[in-house]
């Protein structure tokens, strides 16, 4: 699949924003968030910036972005429609949390709003993952690791930003439990992604013989495509660049979203340099996820590519 930058920006940035809102919402709901007032508002607004930037980026993937509102209508059948509704719904508890935090509230209202914020963020992540997972035509995205990975990556990247804020904020004393949880998430993300890559590498590609149903007659080779120029289908669904550099890009991604954050957390916990280490880890993870998401598209084979002759080098 052609990696569309708009969709990569959306899933990575909004994913981090929703992940951040998950942590913030759960901490507020449980009453364990170590700060109040501006200490809640600042990460909440940062999450808002990530989520909104991602959502706006996603509209540039549309041929007719001015009609985007129509996407809210088909929630009965379409995960994309559900995602649109969940993503907009999440702004309501966000506004409630912002209002209560602004007034300096720490009571039950903030707890409820926090819980709703986390719930809406989780629902949006579930919808995003299912948009990809529900496409039968792209075998790589049907893998069992796709759904958990969208959550783990969101929690990891969003959590690192929340940790960065808490490490930089004055008076916000946090223990080691949160960074160590993020360390565990980074390890889980690395193992799960590695497992995903190993799995999709072993998937057999669709063949011309199978696509045309002619395989029973003999060996089928695409002799000639329908036109000499590239078409929408070959441009969108027969993308080959990443497969050549796949191994190297995978190692770079893994280093950025898992190895660097793990090292940063270990250094921060052992030396107390969290104010330096946390932002480095957060930026590295986000950069790593851009590469990871690029590969998620570029290395996913669409069944329709089998109809076309392999590109000539």
């Amino acid at each position: 699949m052609r990696p569309a930058l708009s969709v990569i920006f959306f899933t990575v940035l909004s994913g981090a924003g929703y992940g951040l809102w998950c942590w913030l919402g759960v901490a507020l709901a449980a009453g364990v968030y170590p700060s109040a007032g501006v200490g809640v508002l600042a990460p909440l607004v940062f999450g808002f910036v990530l989520v909104t930037a991602g959502l706006l980026a996603s509209t540039s993937h549309l041929g007719r972005p001015e009609r985007a509102w129509r996407a809210l209508s088909q929630w009965r059948s379409s995960w994309l429609s559900r995602e649109g509704i969940a993503s907009l719904a999440a702004y309501l508890p966000m506004l409630a949390v912002a209002w209560l935090a602004w007034r300096g509230s720490t009571g039950g209202g903030l707890r409820v709003a926090g819980a709703l914020l986390a719930a809406c963020a989780l629902a949006t992540l579930l919808c995003t993952a299912n948009i990809y997972r529900s496409l039968k035509t792209i075998a790589a995205w049907r893998a069992r690791q796709v759904l958990p990975l969208y959550f783990v990556f969101a929690w990891l990247s969003g959590g690192l930003w929340l940790w960065a804020w808490l490490a930089l904020a004055p008076h916000a004393a946090i223990g080691e439990a949160f960074p160590l949880t993020l360390l565990a998430l980074a390890v889980i993300a690395a193992i799960t992604k590695f497992d995903y890559w190993r799995g999709i590498d072993a998937q057999p590609a669709n063949s011309a013989g199978h696509a045309t149903g002619l395989e029973t007659l003999g060996q089928v080779r695409a002799f000639e495509g329908p036109v000499t120029e590239p078409s929408y289908l070959t441009h969108e669904m027969a993308f080959v660049l990443a497969r050549r550099h796949g191994g190297r890009l995978r190692r770079i991604a893994l280093g950025l979203f898992a190895v660097l954050p793990v090292l940063a957390i270990v250094v921060a916990v052992t030396t107390g340099q969290a104010a330096w280490m946390a932002p480095i880890a957060a930026i590295a993870a986000l950069a790593g996820l851009f590469i990871e998401r690029w590969l998620f598209f570029a290395q996913a084979r669409h069944a329709v590519a089998a109809f076309f002759p392999a590109p000539q080098g």
Binding site: G63, S77, E215, T216, L249, F307, P311
Partner: protein
């Protein structure tokens, strides 16, 4: 609504005979001609007469080389028979929307623009509702949908053309504006591709009716559906090439793995630089 309608009795569709298709592309051209001028309005074309023409076609004709397997060696009393592989066979393969009974291209649509008609099973896109998210094209394993967008590499003034900028998903309509069109002569109320085919390799009819001509020929010739494992239940059927007289086209062999290469010179500058940097 993009939820699927209850299964209808009437299933309009095409039957394509791979035995007699000569790969002349007349169906594709007739389709383009009709849909360029009919109720649908101009079909998107970008730089149509330039160096890199780019546009939407509802119907595209592929050509495949089928290599029948070599017969095993047979010991004769006097000599070993020739075991050379038989000559390959060329199969021309028109590919268009199969108007599936349970397609995901309809259910994934977030706007209700992509829909399946309850009365005859035709799958259509409402051009006034489509937002161009392309999820339906991603959901289709048959490559039936193409979006009307300007050429990805284009710099020509043609990008100002309204049709290339339509920004919505396009697909075969089964010539819905022909088949019910009472201003046309009754025998012309068929899809343009069917009327244009010089070898009658394309047939149009109701595949839901077991007594229709199309259903009969499918039963007689062993017509098959493409990639049934997706569970979309295509309505269109393909008739396989008839067995050759020497019997060489009946055995099965495993398909060869696909190979891929990349021409770095074809890439835009940024990707070309990336390719170079990563190749080190």
């Amino acid at each position: 609504m993009t939820s699927l309608p209850a299964p209808a009795k009437k299933k309009l569709g095409l039957v394509i005979d791979l035995d007699i298709c000569v790969g002349c592309h007349a169906c594709a051209v007739a389709c383009k001609a009709w849909n360029d001028g009919g109720d649908f309005g101009p079909l998107a074309d970008d730089d149509p007469y330039g160096a890199e023409p780019h546009g939407v076609w509802f119907n595209r004709v592929h050509s495949y080389e089928v290599q029948p397997p070599a017969p095993g060696p047979r010991l004769d009393l006097l000599h070993l028979e020739d075991t050379a592989a038989p000559a390959p066979q060329m199969v021309h393969f028109p590919r268009s929307c199969l108007h599936c009974e349970t397609p995901d291209c309809v259910t994934v649509c977030p706007t209700g623009a992509s829909y399946k008609r309850a009365e005859d099973g035709i799958v259509l896109v409402d051009q006034d509702k489509c937002i161009g998210c392309q999820l339906c094209a991603w959901a289709c394993p048959y490559g039936a949908r193409e979006i009307a967008l300007p050429h990805p590499k284009t710099t020509t003034s043609d990008t100002d053309r309204k049709d290339a900028k339509r920004g919505t998903m396009q697909k075969c309509t089964l010539c819905v504006d022909r088949i019910y069109n009472e201003t046309l002569d009754a025998r012309d109320r068929q899809p343009a591709c069917v009327l244009a085919c010089p070898t009658h390799a394309r047939m149009f009819g109701d595949l839901g009716d077991p007594d229709s001509d199309v259903s009969k020929v499918v039963a007689e010739r062993g017509g098959f559906a493409l990639m049934p494992e997706f569970g979309y239940q295509p309505v269109n059927r393909y008739l396989p090439p008839r067995p050759r007289r020497d019997g060489s086209s009946t055995a099965a062999t495993p398909p060869a793995p696909a190979t891929e290469t990349l021409d770095a010179n074809q890439l835009p500058p940024l990707l070309r630089w990336l390719d170079k940097a990563l190749s080190r």
